[in-house]
């Protein structure tokens, strides 16, 4: 039995928001424990003053002193969880600076989160799991080659993907909309296996990821069940040929978005979700539907339009659709509306999430939405960089899962 992963908590407000027990429950669910680094009173004063960020809230001063103790090694931990109240400007500054400070000065994986009283352990589970994965499976995450015959299944909120790989080559893929979780996985797997021309029994190892990873993993007897933050980032750097050095992975999903700072293939800090549906892949699906085109046609349509001609920047999917309908009703072209929708999603991810990670090139865009050229273009314009969209980017979770599961082939 392994000992629990020790996650140091740097926070202000969760115990007064009634969510401290949710944080602890999420950690327990992935065999981890959160703890508050103990410090001497004199150390709090000196560390806070040495850090140089003159905040007024005492809990934030304490968080700063605890961060310094972690970086300086006077307190030992496997990972760091930074949590402050949503909508607190002072805390947002501290949260961001501490995340950057720990990321740049230690090997500790760190995730930051702004909570409300509605935050539940379920919301935090994937983040906690990613922290424990990075702490426990560094050797596995360092794997650079896929070996043998393996399959990865990504049971996502919108689509289910399956990939069969053999010795660093993708030989079969399956992609179906997620309806009933197990049935969709069975169908995607069947497509991938048929295309690969193999039998299920031929597979040496299988991995699952995504929202339905546990259910599907149990059903198919997966060797590896792992959350999508570490799996997707691994798949992204693998397919983009960027396994060494720094990189940034952006995955705008159907239900949530991920932004991950990666170093040598291992995530250092990341954010996930946290903003409204107006900045999700789902909004682009709705846009395509309203424009009467298939989602695969939205990208080329957007590339032919000018986003600045249509005002659209709502966090909310309902208000965003309202802007879209108004624009069409006042004579805007479908191309301009499609471009505006892509720009709106990219801008909100840029403003709300990418500020929480350090953007380092190459910036790799993955997931189904990376096939929408208009969105990739808009993101590139905002980041002032050329985005990298690797081949098979829509299968990123399944590829990462197939790659990592090859570490579980017996006898290798």
């Amino acid at each position: 039995m392994t000992s629990p992963v020790r996650i140091a908590q740097l926070s202000c407000g969760p115990e007064y928001s009634g969510v401290q027990s949710e944080i602890e429950e999420a950690a327990r669910a992935v065999d981890a424990e959160v703890f508050f680094p103990d410090l001497k009173l004199s150390d709090i004063r000196s560390s806070f003053e040495a850090f140089g960020l003159d905040v007024r809230s005492s809990d934030l001063k304490l968080a700063i002193a605890r961060a310094k103790a972690l970086v300086e090694g006077t307190v030992e931990a496997d990972a760091v969880f930074i949590a402050t109240c949503f909508r607190c400007a002072e805390a947002a500054i501290v949260r961001n600076e501490l995340r950057r400070y720990i990321h740049e000065n230690s090997d500790l994986p760190v995730v930051s989160y702004s909570f409300t009283e509605r935050t539940t352990s379920g919301t935090l589970l994937t983040r906690m799991e990613a922290l424990t994965t990075i702490a426990r499976r560094r050797t596995l995450l360092a794997r650079e080659h896929q070996e043998g015959l393996t399959m990865g299944v990504d049971s996502g909120s919108s689509t289910t993907k399956a990939v069969v790989m053999q010795n660093d080559r993708i030989i079969g893929t399956g992609w179906v909309p997620t309806t009933e979780v197990i049935a969709s996985a069975d169908e995607a797997i069947q497509h991938a296996i048929s295309e690969a021309g193999i039998q299920r029994e031929d597979l040496n190892a299988v991995g699952t990821t995504g929202y339905g990873r546990y259910l599907v993993g149990k059903r198919i007897g997966a060797d590896l069940i792992q959350e999508e933050l570490t799996v997707n980032s691994k798949g992204a750097v693998y397919l983009a040929g960027a396994q060494h050095g720094p990189s940034t992975v952006i995955d705008i999903g159907g239900m949530d978005n991920k932004a991950i700072s990666v170093s040598n293939g291992i995530p250092g800090s990341f954010t996930m979700g946290g903003i409204c549906a107006g900045a999700s892949g789902r909004f682009l699906e709705m846009t395509a539907k309203r424009l009467g085109v298939d989602i695969t046609e939205l990208g080329p349509l957007a590339m032919a339009g000018l986003s600045r001609k249509v005002p659209m920047n709502s966090y909310c999917i309902v208000f965003g659709t309202q802007s879209l309908v108004n624009a069409l009703a006042t004579g805007s072209s479908r191309e301009d509306v499609a471009a505006a929708a892509c720009h709106s999603v990219a801008e909100q991810v840029f403003e709300q999430q990418l500020q929480e990670v350090d953007i380092k090139e190459p910036v790799i865009m993955v997931g189904g939405t990376s096939l929408i050229q208009g969105l990739v273009y808009a993101m590139g314009q905002l980041l002032k960089t050329e985005m990298v969209v690797p081949p098979h980017s829509q299968f990123i979770g399944a590829v990462g899962s197939a790659l990592l599961s090859s570490g579980y082939i017996k006898g290798r």
Binding site: E15, Q20, C85, C88, E117
Partner: protein
């Protein structure tokens, strides 16, 4: 005997001083004790549940962070109940520590709004200031009708 709200509300020294002069200190210990003694609550460490930030809406709007509203759910009723207050400014961590600066601003403002007898003191930094500090509190509490 008066109910005296203390600031910092976590200060055991202030709480003890108020109690020694036969008044009732209103601070964090009292607010949290009520929660800990309420059967059926299971939200460690302070037994503050997600309902508390909602109760805090009485004192701060929904756009105010949940941590401020949760704290106000503890301190707000105490301030409403108080007949007097002692406010120590710029206190050392060891004297009593209030975690959130925004809550502190609101707590101090609410005390002013109540128009109750309030003693404002700066935290003493020397022995001489310390003696004056205790004497001032002594005098204030006595003026409320406590034991001399």
């Amino acid at each position: 005997m008066a109910k005296v709200f203390i600031y910092p509300a976590t200060s055991l020294i202030l709480s003890d001083l108020v109690a020694r002069f036969d008044h009732t200190p209103l601070g964090t210990a009292l607010g949290i004790r009520e929660r800990i003694q309420t059967p059926g609550l299971e939200s460690p460490p302070l037994q503050i549940t997600p309902d508390d930030p909602k109760r805090g809406l009485k004192y701060a709007a929904v756009e105010v962070p949940s941590g401020v509203r949760g704290r106000m759910a503890v301190y707000g009723p105490l301030i409403e109940d108080a007949e007097a207050a002692i406010v120590v400014h710029d206190a050392d961590f060891a004297f009593g520590c209030m975690g959130c600066a925004r809550t502190n601003e609101l707590v101090k403002f609410m005390i002013r709004q109540r128009s109750i007898p309030t003693l404002d003191l700066n935290y003493p930094r020397t022995e001489g200031e310390g003696e004056e500090f205790v004497a001032a509190i002594h005098q204030f509490l006595a003026s409320l009708g406590g034991r001399l």
